[in-house]
Amino acid sequence: MEPFTRVTGPAFSLDEDNIDTDVIYPARFLTITAREGLGAYAFADRKLDLGGAPVLVAGANFGCGSSREQAVWALLGAGVRCVIAPGFGEIFASNCLRNGVLPVVLDRETVEGLHRSAQAGNVFTVDLHGCTVQAGEAAPVGFAIPEPQRQALLNGWDETASILARDGEAIEAFEARQRQTQPWLWR
C-alpha cells in the first residue's frame, strides 16, 4: 500500500454521527469486483462531492455497519487519505490501516473545532511523523496511534507479507500444538 507520511490540503466536513458504510458506499455497487475506480460512488446517494479533499472530518462512529472495504477504496478513490472523527466503526478503521488511509481519533470537542475550521476553508496538514493535525493558523493538535500501526502506515507495509516473512515458525509451532489439543480440527 502507499505509505502515509504527511498530507496537506482542504478538509471536507461531514458533521453527522453514525455515518454507516452503506451511506459511504451504497450496496448496489458492491457487485463491482475492482478496488480501483470506486471514487465516483463515494456518498453516491447523499450526492456529496468531496472536491478532492485529502482530509475528511467526520462524526462519531464513522464507518459503522458493514465490513465492506469498498467504503475505504471509494474514499481513497475520491482522494481521501485521512479521516478524523471522535470514533470509528472498528472494521472500517482496520480497513483504513490496510489501505494507507489514516484514521485519527480525537475528542468530540476538538473534532467540533476542526469541523468549523474545515467549513471555513482552512488548509489542513496531517503529519504522521509527529502525530499532529494542523488546521489553518491554529496550534497543531496531537493524536495517538499504536506504534505498530504507525510504522506500517509510514512504511506502506503489507500485513500478509510481514506475517509470512516473520512468523512462519511460530505458526508451525502453533499448528503442531493444536493438532495435539484439538485433533478434531485437523481431520
Partner: protein, 468 residues
C-alpha cells in the same frame, strides 16, 4: 481469578504475543462470499501465493444471487460475473464451494452452523460484519475486511487487538411472542449504536440458558449493531444437541473429546468483566425501529419521538431520521402503514423464525396493497419449511416464497424497495438506502413482521393473536 470465555478463546489462539494487546492470532476457519473475496483471491494470485489450508475455508455466493429462477445465473451481468468469479476462485484455489442449486446453499451465517462448519472453541472469520452470529456457539468469530481475508487465506493468521469484556445478563423469562430480536433491539436502543464498541459481549443468564440456538444466533448477529465485533454465548447442552450429527462436526471418540474440551470454555464463576449490563426480559414488549440506525427503536406501543423534547445532542439525529423515514414526530408506531414485508436475512431466516411467522400467517391473508415475501436463510431451511407445511401456509396467506439468499436485507439483487417504499423487515439494518435507494426500513421480529403483513401497518402481534 478465573477467565472469561472471551479470554480463554483469545489466549488459546495466540501465535505470537504483540505490543498493546495486539496479538497475532491463529484463524481456524474462514467463510468466503462473493463480495469480500474477489480482491483477496486476486491479491493472492498476483503474489503467486496459495491458501495455507484451503480445507479450512468454505465458499458460497449469497449476497448478489437471485431468489427466483435459481437455475439461471443472476440476470444482472455484473452480479453474474461476481458469482462466476467466486466459483472459479474456489475451483482454482481448492476451496469447498456450495453451488447456488445445491443443498448446502444459503447465507454464510446460516449455513456455517447448519453444516457444522461453525464449532465451539474455534476462531472463525468472514469478510462480513455479521460474523458475530457464530459467537452463539462459543466461537471467537468476527467480521474482517477484504484485505484481511487475503491475509487469512495466505497465513491462517491475523493481528488483532484484544477487546474489553462486557457481560450482558438476561434475567427473567421471555413473554409469549417476544423474541431474541426484541431483546437485541431493546438492548441496542439502551446502549446505543456504538455502545459496545471495543467490547466483546458475552450473553448469559437464565434467559440465555432457556434460549434455542436460533435465538442465540439472532442476539449475537445483532451485536455488531451495538458497535461490537464479538457476541458470545458459552457452549452448553443446547449447543451440543444442535451440533451433534451435522456434516462437519467431530464424530465418535472425537465428539466426546471435543465436548469435554468445549465444556471448559465457559467463563469461570469468578471471572471479571470490564462492564456488566443487566436486562430483565420478563416485561419486555415487542420492539420496532422508527429511525435510520438500529438504536432508534422503541416498544411497539410507543410513539415516534418528538425532537423538540429530545436532548440537544440527539435532536439533529432524530430530525434527520424522521425526514428520511417520512414520519411525523409523536405519531403512534401503530399508525405507520407499510408497503412491503421482508422475512429473511442472517438475523431471522432460520426454521424457528419461519415457524413463528407461519403461526401468525395461518388462516390469515396479507393485507391488500402489501407485498410480502419470505426468504429462507438456506436451501436446507427452505426444504424443511416445505416439509413442515410452512411454505403452503405462507403461499396461502399471500406471501411470496423464495429461494435462499441475502435478498432484501442488502438489496444487491433485484429484491429491493422503490424510493419511498416502507418495509417491515426482520433484517438487521435500517440504514438509509439499505433495502434499496430511498427505501424505508422498520426492523422487527419475524412475529411482528408477519403481523404487519396481515394488518398492513406496524402492529402488536399479541393483539392480533388475541393475547397480552
Amino acid at each position: 481469578m478465573g477467565g472469561t470465555l472471551y479470554d480463554k478463546l483469545w489466549d488459546a489462539h495466540i501465535v505470537r504475543p504483540g505490543e498493546n494487546g495486539e496479538d497475532l492470532l491463529y484463524i481456524d476457519r474462514q467463510l468466503v462470499h462473493e463480495v469480500s473475496s474477489p480482491q483477496a483471491f486476486r491479491a493472492l494470485g498476483e503474489a503467486g501465493r496459495g491458501l495455507r489450508r484451503p480445507e479450512t475455508h468454505l465458499a458460497v455466493a449469497d449476497h448478489a444471487v437471485p431468489t427466483r429462477g435459481r437455475d439461471g445465473a443472476p440476470t444482472d451481468p455484473v452480479a453474474a460475473a461476481q458469482v462466476a468469479e467466486l466459483e472459479a476462485n474456489a475451483r482454482d484455489f481448492g476451496v469447498r464451494y456450495h453451488a447456488l442449486t445445491g443443498e448446502g446453499h444459503g447465507i454464510v451465517h446460516v449455513i456455517g452452523p447448519e453444516q457444522g462448519f461453525t464449532l465451539p472453541g474455534i476462531t472463525l472469520v468472514c469478510g462480513d460484519s455479521h460474523t458475530t452470529t457464530h459467537g452463539a456457539f462459543g466461537a471467537l468469530a468476527f467480521g474482517i475486511g477484504a484485505s484481511e481475508c487475503g491475509t487469512v487465506m495466505a497465513s491462517q493468521c491475523l493481528v488483532q487487538k484484544r477487546a474489553k469484556t462486557m457481560r450482558v445478563e438476561l434475567v427473567g423469562t421471555l413473554p409469549g411472542w417476544v423474541s431474541a430480536k426484541d431483546v437485541a433491539l431493546a438492548l441496542i436502543a439502551r446502549i446505543g449504536a456504538d455502545g459496545a464498541r471495543g467490547f466483546a459481549v458475552e450473553y448469559a443468564g437464565p434467559a440465555i440458558a432457556a434460549m434455542d440456538m436460533a435465538g442465540r444466533m439472532t442476539l449475537c448477529n445483532m451485536t455488531i449493531e451495538a458497535g461490537s465485533r464479538i457476541g458470545l454465548v458459552a457452549p452448553d447442552d443446547v449447543t451440543f444437541a444442535y451440533l451433534e450429527g451435522r456434516p462437519g462436526t467431530p464424530k465418535g471418540v472425537d465428539w466426546d473429546k471435543a465436548v469435554r474440551h468445549w465444556k471448559g470454555l465457559a467463563s469461570d464463576s469468578d471471572a471479571e468483566f470490564d462492564r456488566i449490563e443487566t436486562l430483565d426480559v420478563s416485561a419486555l414488549d415487542p420492539h420496532v425501529t422508527w429511525g435510520t440506525s438500529p438504536d432508534q427503536g422503541a416498544p411497539v406501543g410507543e410513539h415516534v419521538p418528538d425532537p423538540a423534547l429530545a436532548a440537544t445532542g440527539e435532536r439533529d439525529r432524530i430530525v434527520r431520521a424522521l425526514a428520511y423515514m417520512g414520519l411525523e414526530p409523536g405519531m403512534k408506531l401503530f399508525e405507520i402503514a407499510i408497503d412491503r414485508v421482508f422475512i429473511g436475512s442472517c438475523t431471522n431466516s432460520r426454521i424457528e423464525d419461519l415457524r413463528i411467522a407461519a403461526r401468525v400467517a395461518t388462516g390469515r391473508t396479507v393485507s391488500p396493497g402489501v407485498r410480502a415475501m419470505v426468504v429462507p436463510g438456506s436451501a436446507a431451511t427452505r426444504a424443511q419449511a416445505e416439509a413442515e407445511g410452512l411454505a403452503d401456509i405462507f403461499r396461502a396467506a399471500g406471501f411470496e416464497w423464495r429461494d435462499a439468499g441475502c435478498s432484501m436485507c442488502v438489496a444487491m439483487n433485484d429484491d429491493r424497495l422503490a424510493p419511498g417504499e416502507r418495509c417491515a423487515s426482520t433484517s438487521n439494518r435500517n440504514f438509509e438506502g439499505r433495502q434499496g435507494q430511498g427505501g424505508r426500513t422498520h426492523l422487527m421480529s419475524p412475529a411482528s413482521a408477519a403481523a404487519a403483513a396481515i394488518t398492513g401497518h406496524i402492529a402488536d402481534v399479541r393483539t392480533l393473536m388475541g393475547q397480552g
